[in-house]
C-alpha cells in the first residue's frame, strides 16, 4: 500500500515519449503522411509542407479551444467559426487590398475576436450560462451580423498578407513556421507561466483553486478571450489564403477545433492540456483530407474514414491496455 517509490531521477526521454498522451495522434499523422505520399506522388517533403501550411489555421483555433477546455467547468467555445468569419469580413474591409492597411486590418480582426471573447466570458462567468449554450448564442448573433454585413462587402485582404500565408522561405512554408512558433509560445504559456499553471489548476478543481487564492472566473474568462482572439486572427489569415472572405469560411472549424484538442491528448473535462498535441491532431485531420482527395473517393467515404480514424486514435489513447509503459 505504501508505494514507497524511491524519488525517480529524471525520466528517460524515451519513456517520456512513449507515455505522452499525444503519441497515438502523432503516430496516426505519420501513417497518413506516408500513405498520402505513396498515393499522390507529391514527394515526401512537399506533402508535409503543404499539409503543415494548411493545418496551421486549425492549430491556431485549436490552441484557443485547448485553453477553454483545459480551464474546465465544461468549457468549450462554439463561437469559433462565426468569429473567424466575421473577422475575415471586417479585416478584409479595412485592408481593402492595400498593404498600407495591413496592420490596422489585423488589429481589427483580433479586436473583433477579443470583443466576442469578452461577451462569451460575460455570459458564462457572470450570467452563469453553460459554455456550450453561451458561446453558441454568441455565435448565432454574430452569424446574423455576418449575413447583414456580407451583402455589401467588397474588401479583400492585402496582397502582403496573402504572400505571408502562401509564401515559402526556401523549402519551408513561412506560415507553417509561424504556426510552430505560435505553438511554442502557447506551450510555454500553459506549462511555464503562472497563468498556465492556474488554468490547469482551475480545470482540475475550481474549488481547490479558489481556496488556494485563485479566482477561477478570471482564469476561465481569460481563456475565452484568448480563444476568440486567436479565432479572429485565424479568420483574416484564412481569408488571405482563400483570396477573400466567404460565408462558410469558418464552418468546418467548429467541431474540428475541438477534435484536434482531444486527439492531441488533452483531457476534454479539463485540467490537463497538451499544446504540441494540437499539431498532431491538426496534421492528422488535414493530411487525411488530402489523402482522400488524391485517392478520388467520394465525400461520403471521406467522412466515414475521418470518423473511423478519430475513433481509432481515441480508443488507443484512452485504453489503459495500450498505455502501459
Amino acid at each position: 500500500m505504501t508505494a514507497t517509490l524511491a524519488a525517480p531521477s529524471r525520466e528517460p526521454v524515451l519513456t517520456k515519449i512513449t507515455r505522452s498522451p499525444a503519441l497515438p495522434a502523432f503516430v496516426g499523422a505519420l501513417v497518413i503522411w506516408l500513405a498520402t505520399w505513396l498515393v499522390s506522388g507529391n514527394g515526401l517533403w512537399g506533402t508535409l509542407a503543404i499539409g503543415a501550411s494548411v493545418a496551421t489555421y486549425l492549430v491556431m483555433v485549436g490552441i484557443g479551444q485547448l485553453f477553454v477546455i483545459t480551464s474546465g467547468n465544461g468549457g468549450i467555445d462554439l463561437s469559433v467559426p462565426f468569429v473567424m468569419t466575421i473577422s475575415a469580413y471586417l479585416g478584409s474591409q479595412v485592408m481593402n487590398g492595400d498593404d498600407g492597411n495591413l496592420v490596422l486590418g489585423l488589429i481589427v480582426a483580433i479586436a473583433v475576436g477579443i470583443g466576442a471573447g469578452l461577451v462569451n466570458a460575460l455570459l458564462v462567468e457572470v450570467v452563469g450560462m453553460p459554455p456550450l449554450v453561451g458561446t453558441l448564442a454568441v455565435g448565432f448573433t454574430i452569424q446574423t451580423a455576418i449575413l447583414v454585413f456580407s451583402s455589401n462587402s467588397t474588401g479583400v485582404p492585402s496582397p502582403g498578407l496573402s504572400s505571408f500565408v502562401d509564401g515559402n522561405w526556401g523549402p519551408f512554408p513561412i506560415f507553417a513556421i509561424f504556426g510552430v512558433l505560435l505553438t511554442i509560445v502557447f506551450a510555454v504559456l500553459l506549462k511555464r507561466t503562472s497563468y498556465g499553471r492556474r488554468t490547469e489548476a482551475v480545470g482540475q478543481s475550481a474549488t481547490a483553486a479558489r481556496l488556494a487564492g485563485i479566482d477561477p472566473r478570471l482564469v476561465r474568462a481569460a481563456a475565452f478571450v484568448l480563444s476568440a482572439a486567436l479565432a479572429g486572427l485565424a479568420g483574416i489569415l484564412l481569408a488571405a489564403h482563400a483570396g477573400g472572405p466567404s460565408l462558410e469560411l469558418g464552418t468546418p472549424f467548429q467541431l474540428e477545433s475541438i477534435a484536434v484538442v482531444v486527439l492531441g491528448g488533452s483531457l476534454i473535462a479539463g485540467g490537463r492540456g497538451v499544446v504540441p498535441g494540437v499539431w498532431a491532431g491538426a496534421m492528422l485531420l488535414t493530411l487525411l483530407v488530402t489523402l482522400v482527395n488524391v485517392a478520388h473517393v467520394s465525400s461520403a467515404v471521406q467522412n466515414i474514414v475521418e470518423g473511423l480514424l478519430i475513433v481509432v486514435v481515441l480508443a488507443v489513447a484512452r485504453n489503459p491496455v495500450f498505455r502501459k509503459s
Binding site: M1, T2, A3, T4, L5, A6, A7, P8, R192, T193, S194, Y195, R197, R198, E200, A201, Q204, S205, T207, A208, A209, L211, A212, G213, I214, L267, G271, R272
Partner: protein
C-alpha cells in the same frame, strides 16, 4: 456498549492466509481473522498498514495472491475477484466518499436501492432511505430534493452509511465500514453506533476501520491490530485503552510522550499589536471577538453549524479587493492581513489530481515563484525542497499526488498553505481520516506556525483535538454560543455548550 459473547455464537466470516503484493510492496502478509454472526469488530492500524487492502480482498473487489475467505459456510479462493459483493450479502461504506454530486438525494437512494422501480422509483427509494436515516441519525435534516453537491460532507457520509443498510435483493450479512464517522460529530457518531448495535442484535455483523481509536474501544467487541501488512495482535476492546492500541500499532514511545506534553507547552505570548487583526462580530449577540497573531483558535460545536462559513468568510475578507466586512449568516468578519486555507476534504477541495506533489505544493505561491508571469523552476524546486524535510513525506516531489495516502496528501496541502507565509492560517477539519502519527505531525506544525506569529483558525469535528487551541469558539445554529479558554476546552465542556450553551455565555469571554 460492547457486544459480548461474540465468540460463543456461530462463525460468519473466516479469513485464512490472505496475502497481497503490490509490486515490491507486501501490502498484506498472511492475514487471518474471524467474525461471529452479530459481532462488531475493528481493524486498527496506520495509514498504509494494509487495512483497506485486506478488506478489499475479503469483499472480492481485489484479487489476493493467496488465501481463502469463508462467508456463511461458503469458502472461496481469495485470488479470484468477485463481481458483486452485494450478491454475497456484503455491504461496503468507502473511506473516500463516493456519491455522485449531481444527483438528488432520492435519486442517490435509488442507486443503492435496486428494489425501487416503476414510475415512483424516487419516492420508493427515498422512503426506504429515510426510514434508515431517521433511525440512524435522528434530526439529520436531509431533504429528498437536495443535490448531493449541496450537502455538507457530514450529511453525505450519513447517506453513505444509511444506504449500506438498505434492504437489498440479498439481505446484508456483513457490513464493512471504512472510516464511516470521519466527518461526523460526536452525537451523530453515537447514534450511528447505537443503530449498529440494534442491527447486530438482529444478526448483522460489521467490520469497522477508523483512526478514532476511542470509538473502537467504546463500540466494538474485538480489535485486530495491523502493522506493515500483518495482523500483529488481537485485543478485547473492553480491556484496551487508547495508549495500549497505539503501542500495539507501533507508534514509538516517544510519540505518545510527545502527545502528553502537548498541552503543557507554553508558547510565549505574542504582543497584541501584531499585524493580524481579525474581528468576528456576532450580529445576534453584538459580541465581538478579536483574534491575535500567535493564537490558535478552535472552532468547535456540532458539525455544520456555521464553522465552515466563518472560515470561508475569513478567506474572502482577506482576499477581497473591496474593503468592508464579509458576512456569514450571523457574523460580520473583517481581516487585516493575508490568509492561507487548508481543507480536510482533500479530494474535492484540496488536491490537484493530475499533478505531482511538488506542483500541488507550489500552486498557492505562484506569485513569489515567478518573474513577469514566468515560473522559475529553480525557485519552485527550492520552495519544495525547503518544506520537504519538515513534513516527513515518503517518496519524492515528483510522485503523483494521488499515489500518496490520505494523510500524506494532507501534509502536502499543509505545506502548500504554510509556504504562503500568511498572517492567518485557516484549517477546515485538516485531520479528517488521518492516522494518529500524522495528526501529531500536524499539531506540531501548527504549534510551530503559531510560535512564529501566525494566527491559526482551526475547525475540527474531533472535539478532543481542540485542547491544542488557546481559545475555542463553540458554534450552534450559526451562532457563537461560547468561548472557552484552551484549558477549559475539554470534550465535555465543548459538547455541553454546543447543546446547552446559551448565547449569553459569550459574555465574559474575550
Amino acid at each position: 456498549m460492547t457486544t459480548g459473547g461474540g465468540d460463543m455464537s456461530e462463525t460468519l466470516l473466516s479469513v485464512e492466509g490472505v496475502t497481497k503484493r503490490f509490486g515490491s510492496t507486501l501490502a498484506v502478509d498472511d492475514a487471518a481473522f474471524r467474525l461471529a454472526r452479530g459481532e462488531l469488530i475493528g481493524i486498527a492500524g496506520h495509514n498504509g498498514a494494509g487495512k483497506s487492502t485486506v478488506l478489499n480482498v475479503v469483499t472480492g473487489r481485489l484479487a489476493g495472491d493467496a488465501g481463502t475467505v469463508t462467508l456463511d459456510g461458503t469458502t472461496r479462493d481469495a485470488t479470484v475477484p468477485v463481481a458483486s459483493a452485494d450478491a454475497l450479502g456484503i455491504r461496503i461504506v468507502f473511506q473516500e466518499l463516493s456519491l455522485c454530486p449531481a444527483l438528488r438525494v432520492d435519486e442517490t437512494a435509488a442507486v443503492f436501492d435496486r428494489s425501487a422501480r416503476g414510475t415512483s422509483w424516487r419516492t420508493a427509494a427515498w422512503n426506504h432511505l429515510q426510514t434508515v436515516l431517521d433511525e440512524m441519525f435522528p434530526g439529520h435534516g436531509i431533504r429528498r430534493q437536495q443535490q448531493i453537491r449541496d450537502l455538507s460532507i457530514a450529511r453525505r457520509q450519513m447517506i453513505e452509511c444509511a444506504a449500506a443498510m438498505l434492504p437489498g435483493e440479498v439481505p446484508a450479512k456483513l457490513v464493512i465500514l471504512d472510516e464511516p464517522t470521519s466527518s461526523l460529530d460526536a452525537s451523530s457518531t453515537e447514534s450511528f453506533y447505537a443503530y449498529l448495535h440494534r442491527r447486530a442484535a438482529e444478526g448483522l455483523s460489521a467490520i469497522v476501520t477508523t483512526h478514532r481509536l476511542h470509538e473502537m474501544i467504546d463500540n466494538l467487541s474485538r480489535l485486530y491490530i495491523m502493522r506493515d501488512g500483518r495482523i500483529v495482535s488481537e485485543e478485547v476492546a473492553a480491556t484496551s485503552t487508547k495508549e495500549s492500541l497505539v503501542a500495539a500499532m507501533g507508534i514509538g514511545g516517544h510519540e505518545a510522550a510527545r502527545e502528553r506534553t502537548v498541552s503543557d507547552v507554553e508558547r510565549p505570548p505574542v504582543p497584541g499589536d501584531a499585524p493580524v487583526r481579525v474581528h468576528i462580530g456576532d450580529r445576534a449577540t453584538g459580541a465581538e471577538i478579536e483574534l491575535r497573531a500567535g493564537e490558535i483558535i478552535g472552532l468547535g460545536g456540532l458539525e455544520g453549524h456555521g464553522q465552515v462559513a466563518v472560515l470561508e468568510a475569513l478567506a474572502k475578507a482577506a482576499r477581497s479587493r473591496l474593503p468592508g466586512p464579509k458576512r456569514t449568516l450571523r457574523q460580520d468578519v473583517t481581516v487585516d492581513g493575508t490568509v492561507a486555507y487548508v481543507s480536510g476534504d482533500r479530494g474535492d477541495r484540496g488536491i490537484f489530481r493530475y499533478w505531482d506533489v511538488g506542483q500541488n505544493v507550489t500552486i498557492a505561491n505562484l506569485k513569489r515563484l515567478s518573474t513577469a508571469g514566468f515560473l522559475s523552476r529553480g525557485a519552485e524546486r527550492r520552495l519544495v525542497d525547503g518544506w520537504w524535510p519538515k513534513l516527513g513525506i515518503k517518496g519524492g516531489p515528483e510522485d503523483p499526488i494521488v499515489s500518496l495516502s490520505g494523510g500524506t496528501q494532507q501534509k502536502a496541502l499543509m505545506a502548500r498553505a504554510m509556504a504562503e507565509d500568511s498572517d492567518l492560517l485557516l484549517l477546515e477539519d485538516p485531520t479528517r481520516g488521518v492516522d494518529q502519527s500524522t495528526k501529531e505531525d500536524v499539531y506540531a506544525l501548527l504549534r510551530r506556525q503559531a510560535a512564529e506569529g501566525q494566527c491559526v483558525v482551526w475547525y475540527s469535528t474531533e472535539n478532543e483535538e481542540l485542547r491544542h487551541c488557546d481559545r475555542v469558539l463553540v458554534f450552534r445554529s450559526n451562532e457563537i454560543v461560547a468561548v472557552l479558554a484552551g484549558s477549559e476546552a475539554t470534550e465535555d465542556a465543548i459538547l455541553s455548550s454546543s447543546f446547552a450553551g446559551a448565547p449569553s455565555s459569550l459574555s465574559g469571554a474575550s
